[in-house]
Amino acid sequence: MPQDPTERRVVVTGVPRRTLPHSRLRSGGRYPHRLGHHRPRTEIDEQTTLGHTYVRSLMRSQLRAALVVFAVLVLLVAPLPLVFAAMPDGAGLEWAVLGFGIYPPLVLLARWHVRRAERNEQDLVRLVEDR
């Protein structure tokens, strides 16, 4: 492994930080590369059944979020070649859609997904931290 484990060791002293990286990112756009220790999450840390349930439910919600956006992408893109082929003068439309029109929806889909995925993660963090 290229990563040398002895580097960048950080001594953690004082009270654990309570700010989550998400809220920090939202407020300032600064990126802490080290995250403070929080209360022990024993279920997850010790890989109990409950810990597994947390992970599974997070994976399920994240996969669902991803598949929904993917389905929208497929529905958006898949019919296009057929439409262009079927239309008598599809070339003009093809230039407009592929040259320009398709990019904004792609970026919007990406932003929508990021928001959903981060919310899923925060929900889990809140659930685990506030128990």
Binding site: D4, R8, L35, V77, F84, P104, L106, V107, V114
Partner: protein
């Protein structure tokens, strides 16, 4: 084209690349700096670096050339290159960063605890990387050839030397700065000339028949045919010929060619008059990949289009130089946000090549005959504006093109060298990394000098097909499916990626001439991607006892946000040890 300004522009880009790289060298001291810039690269810098790395010769020159020759269907290339990042964001970005692995082989080993799968993934990384490096070097050769009439191999050699030196000297840290710098350089180099070209087009009365099929000549134009070709005429054409057509020599004679196919020998000069439709060139007789791909497209356009869409949408996530970039994000959330910025940046860039393609159809339609369509972007400023302004804009475009070759080649070299250092060479460490760099660059350089003549964007498309059939199943199933086993992963990569690789090789060798079978081989993604997924799932289900014992812990690591998983986000195997404690 005037080389007075273009050569200094190219030289300036090369010097600036080395200089920015040297700036990174001063702060790149540890091994970790070397490979992943110590994982401290913020999302804006990282997004610009990812975009700079991703926008290759295929994007800068190839798309405009393809659109010029084959029409708007080719716009699916930039759309696919962009949408690939959306798919990567949906299924891969954050878990991949949280896996803590550095290369695709690292990921395979961390997820499946298998040396065999690791080696197989390494072999595919090197294969895809070399397949992708080849067109970069050839694009550089073409650019220098168009600008200065230098021999075709010289540009490739310059790029190879500069890239190997920068990568070996500075590693990832310097590459990050170089790439980010080169994104903005490339955007400027296409945007500024495009604005002037559009103004020139408007001043010309804004002719709109760029979208007509077929393109036609706007003024009298002399075309020199560099390689023997067959002209397909849909209607009779009167043309002035100096040279040999259909086996008969003509000397500046005006002849009538009836409808049908006519053979034009190399070296012939054809003079077309205003309003003549641009005839369709068919290079089937002298081999070459663009022909075979284009023919597959002509016969089965819908199949080819869907094959292209699938390959680019799913192939992006498996490109070695793209994946490495995600390890430099500080955490999973940043990796996701970085990807959104990347989508915006490359989407903005891809608005430009179609402009050049459309203008090329208007002002340089004869490029479809000379076989140098990839040079359209370079030739347009001179053709449409001319004079000092045209020369300066042409120089800017040339500099941007070189930035494209340098940045993509750097990223690919870094990824391939990383695999070679870790899995092939006996010892690791910085000195062997430098040896790996030289090896990573030497093979495609030799191939580009020896083989020559692959059209840039098509060759890149083939690399995407192989990546989509091998790494896409590995990443998606590895991240989302608990029952993946090492034998399943190995079999899936071999079946999907191997089949795609063989199909690509057969197409490049010109094996089956025509027919449905040929289209299947030229655009393999549509069957090889499902084959890869299916094999991986079925073999995994057949070997349930081989599911790695750490799977739940590893998947938890992939998906849990960092704040729930204390400890250093370091290399994957270290993480697993942490988990077991």
């Amino acid at each position: 084209m005037n080389e007075k300004y273009a050569v200094p522009a190219v030289a300036l880009v090369v010097v600036a690349t080395v200089f920015v790289g040297a700036f990174g060298l001063r702060i790149s001291r540890t091994t970790s700096d070397f490979y992943v810039a110590s994982r401290t690269v913020g999302p804006r810098l990282n997004a610009a670096a990812i975009s700079g790395e991703y926008l290759s010769a295929a994007s800068f020159l190839g798309i405009a050339g393809l659109v010029l020759v084959q029409g708007p269907d080719m716009l699916w290339y930039p759309v696919g290159y962009t949408a690939g990042y959306l798919v990567l964001l949906l299924f891969v970005a954050a878990p991949l960063r949280r896996s803590g692995a550095y290369t695709l082989p690292d990921f395979a080993e961390a997820r499946l605890a298998s040396k065999t799968v690791r080696r197989l993934a390494g072999a595919f990384v090197v294969g895809v990387g070399w397949l992708y490096l080849l067109p970069q070097l050839q694009g550089a050769g073409l650019t220098l050839n168009v600008l200065t009439d230098a021999p075709q191999w010289l540009g490739g050699v310059i790029v190879a030397v500069v890239v190997a030196a920068t990568v070996a000297a500075g590693g990832m840290r310097s590459i990050t700065f170089v790439q980010a710098f080169q994104y903005w350089l490339k955007l400027t180099a296409l945007l500024v000339p495009a604005l002037f070209l559009v103004l020139a087009w408007q001043g010309d009365g804004a002719p709109r028949h760029a979208f007509d099929e077929p393109a036609s000549f706007r003024e009298q134009r002399v075309v020199r045919v560099d390689a023997t070709l067959d002209l397909k005429l849909a209607e009779p054409l009167t043309v002035t010929v100096s040279g040999t057509v259909d086996g008969r020599r003509h000397d500046d004679a005006r002849i009538d060619l009836p409808t049908g196919t006519h053979r034009v020998e190399r070296g012939t000069r054809l003079t077309f008059t205003e309003g003549d439709p641009v005839p369709v060139a068919d290079r089937g007789s002298n081999g070459g990949m663009s022909t075979s791909l284009a023919e597959g497209r002509e016969e089965r356009p819908l199949y080819a289009t869907y094959g292209l869409i699938l390959a680019t949408f799913l192939g992006t996530m498996g490109l070695p130089h793209v994946v490495v970039r995600f390890y430099t994000s500080p955490h999973g959330v940043a990796a996701r946000r970085t990807t959104v910025v990347v989508l915006g940046l490359i989407g903005a860039f891809y608005l430009l090549p179609p402009v050049y393609g459309a203008l090329g159809r208007l002002y340089a339609p004869e490029l479809t005959l000379t076989g140098d369509a990839d040079a359209a972007v370079l030739l347009l400023p001179d053709r449409m504006i001319g004079g000092l302004g045209g020369d300066l804009l042409g120089a800017l475009v040339a500099g941007g093109a070189f930035a494209a070759f340098l940045s993509t080649a750097s990223g690919l070299t870094l990824a391939v060298a990383g695999v070679l250092t870790q899995d092939v060479l006996p010892a690791r460490g910085v000195r062997h990394f430098r040896l790996g760099t030289v090896l990573a660059m030497a093979v495609p350089l030799a191939a580009s000098v020896l083989v020559g003549g692959l059209p840039v964007a098509d060759a890149v498309g083939l690399a995407f097909a192989v990546s989509a059939s091998s790494f896409c199943p590995l990443l998606v199933l590895g991240i989302w499916w608990r029952r993946l086993t090492p034998p399943g992963a190995a079999a899936g990569m071999l079946a999907g990626g191997g089949a795609a690789l063989l199909a690509v090789a057969a197409t490049m060798a010109g094996y089956p001439g025509t027919g449905a079978f040929h289209a299947l081989l030229a655009w393999p993604a549509l069957w090889s991607v499902p084959l890869g997924f299916l094999t991986m799932v079925l073999v995994s289900l057949a070997t349930p006892s081989r599911v790695p014992a750490e799977t739940p812990a590893i998947l938890a690591r992939f998906h849990l946000p960092e704040e729930l998983v204390g400890g250093q986000p370091g290399a994957a195997s270290k993480e697993i040890e942490l988990w077991r404690r």
